[in-house]
């Protein structure tokens, strides 16, 4: 039986003690959805934590005012809360200063800012280096921006485990390389990128280094300074905040030199019909009324997350991943893709079921309350590189339990029995 085997692999003592029931109690959805709810689609969106929900509801229903300009008490408090949220995100990211954090509507918006503002400085023939493991959010904005300036996009290929093949960096990186933009964690394979090697390659040629942190951010506080990147993007809804907000960290020295992206209120210094001058960063990149409630939720989530025992959570997440991987391998016709082991991976596994379409797998799993995602996960180049059209993904968050994994595995056995 797959379950038995998986639990042998994750002995109870491997992880520091984690109060899982308490942790799960911090996420209102589990009470609402009841016990037969096995949410394993965390890479698409995480569930909101109580701290974030409280910040959101409080602001939207009890204390709403627009930010940045009002002087009455409510507006002043809203502005302070918004700046506090910025500071909390900055702290979670290990940023030196709060003003390095731009509030966006999500990772996609953040990466569009990055692509647009960095490409504004490129010349025809300059190169942007991505990877085949990127989410479309870290491909399409670069294509659109590169096309405008005549820059060329290249991509780091994948190795046998579907990781970025960093041995190819020496061929791929040259003086022409002006930007390297890669994911910190693949949303399909869970592979974590060795950012240190890329930073070295970027620094050697003076390229700017952009990291898509959407999938890494929910797995513990970060240290952008140690990473040595120049921009870092993340989404609030994947970080157990609300939908509607995200952030882009831009190294302070760099931010001051970059042109704005969206135009509108709050990002200007002076506007005439002929000409506009722009406010300093981060405001320059925050046009219009920001997603205030969602930003406060993201800040509250980050602050709450920062106080957790990440050693224990990390062990817990990896134990579940091990259980999942072992269980998948034990089912005939099921094939996990991506890294084999637990080294340098987030708790996220995609797989194919021989002869069964991913959507049919997901639909049948849903019968058991198991929520997974089937499709290309907005990563068509990665799937193409693996010779696949689509896959099924199970992604784990801090609140998942062994029962969630087991429900998935039992469901898969049923799928194989019925359809394969």
């Amino acid at each position: 039986m797959s379950r038995a085997r998986a639990s042998e692999l994750a002995p109870p003592n491997a992880a520091p003690r984690l109060d899982l029931a308490g942790l799960k109690g911090e996420f209102p959805i589990f009470e609402a959805q009841g016990p037969r709810f096995h949410y394993l689609d965390n890479a698409a969106t995480g569930q909101i934590c109580r701290a974030a929900a409280a910040a959101l509801v409080d602001f939207e229903t009890r204390a709403r005012a627009n930010v940045k300009r009002g002087v009455y008490r409510l507006a002043d408090e809203a502005t302070q809360a918004f700046e506090e949220a910025r500071a909390r995100i900055a702290a979670y990211l290990g940023a030196r200063e709060a003003r390095e954090v731009v509030i966006t509507s999500g990772t996609t918006h953040a990466l569009n800012i990055a692509a647009h503002t960095l490409c504004a400085r490129l010349r025809p023939g300059d190169e942007i280096l991505l990877s085949l493991a990127e989410h479309h959010a870290n491909i399409v904005p670069w294509q659109l921006a590169a096309a405008r300036v005549g820059a060329v996009i290249r991509a780091i290929p994948l190795d046998a485990e579907a990781r970025l093949d960093l041995d190819r960096l020496t061929d791929l990186v040259s003086r022409k390389t002006k930007v390297i933009a890669v994911t910190h964690c693949s949303n399909v394979t869970g592979a974590l990128t060795d950012l240190g090697r890329i930073r070295e390659a970027a620094q050697a040629v003076g390229a700017l280094f952009v990291v898509d942190g959407a999938q890494r951010a929910p797995h513990g506080p970060l240290d952008v300074q140690a990473m040595g990147c120049d921009l870092y993007a993340l989404s609030g809804h994947k970080l157990f905040g609300a939908t509607g907000a995200g952030a882009l960290w831009i190294r302070a020295e760099l931010a001051e030199e970059l042109p704005p992206f969206l135009g509108g209120g709050e990002m200007i210094r002076r506007v005439t019909i002929e000409r506009t001058s722009f406010a300093p960063a981060p405001h320059r990149f925050e046009a219009g009324t920001p997603p205030i409630g969602p930003a406060l939720a993201m800040g509250a989530a980050a602050a709450w997350l920062a106080g957790l025992d990440w050693q224990a959570i990390h062990a817990h997440e990896l134990a579940l991943t091990e259980r999942l991987l072992a269980g998948l391998r034990a089912i005939r016709g099921v094939r996990p893709i991506g890294p084999e082991g637990l080294q340098a991976r987030a708790p996220l596994v995609s797989f194919v079921v021989e002869g069964v379409h991913p959507h049919d797998v997901c639909q049948l799993l849903d019968m058991r309350g198991v929520c997974t995602r089937g499709g290309h996960h907005c990563a068509q180049p990665l799937h193409e590189a693996l010779g696949l059209e689509a896959s099924v993904r199970a992604s784990i968050a801090l609140y998942n339990e062994a029962e969630d994994v087991d429900a998935l595995l039992e469901g898969l056995e049923d799928v194989v029995r019925r359809l394969a």
Partner: protein, 140 residues
């Protein structure tokens, strides 16, 4: 509902899609994909005397898409464009829970899909291809 969605009828019907053939000399060929999931059908129609003489297809997709393609390929030969258009409309009605029984009885197997909106497009994909094929024939 997911349980019924994979009842024997759909599963068995979908399996038959493996044997589907393309036509060697179609009057019209349409390739249609489902932008949200990448599933794809190539549909061929051959005409004779204003009616469908033969249908060929290659379908890459989920069980629902494949079962729908198989029903279409079985039922279309002999029908004229008007009959086909009313079959398409009756399938849409069935998914939306409108009106009476579908034009072809086999389409009833897709009734459980009604509740799962995100799968409507799976069932409709072959029929969208058919619609496009009929449009092109008409334009000639």
């Amino acid at each position: 509902m997911s349980a019924e969605l994979y009842d024997r009828a759909i599963v068995e019907t979908a399996k038959a899609s493996a044997e589907a053939q393309r036509l060697s000399a179609p009057d019209v060929t349409v390739e249609e994909d489902n932008p949200l999931c990448g599933d794809r059908i190539a549909l061929d129609l051959a005409m004779a005397d204003g009616r469908i003489a033969a249908v060929g297809h290659r379908t890459r997709g989920c069980l629902l898409t494949r079962a729908a393609a198989v029903v279409l390929a079985r039922r279309a030969p002999g029908a004229d464009p008007a009959e086909l258009r009313s079959a398409i409309a009756s399938l849409r009605d069935l998914l939306e829970g409108r009106n009476g029984p579908p034009a072809w009885p086999e389409l009833s197997m897709f009734e459980p899909v009604r509740a799962v909106r995100s799968r409507h497009d799976c069932v409709l994909l072959p029929f969208r291809a058919l619609e496009e094929a009929l449009d092109r024939l008409e334009e000639r």
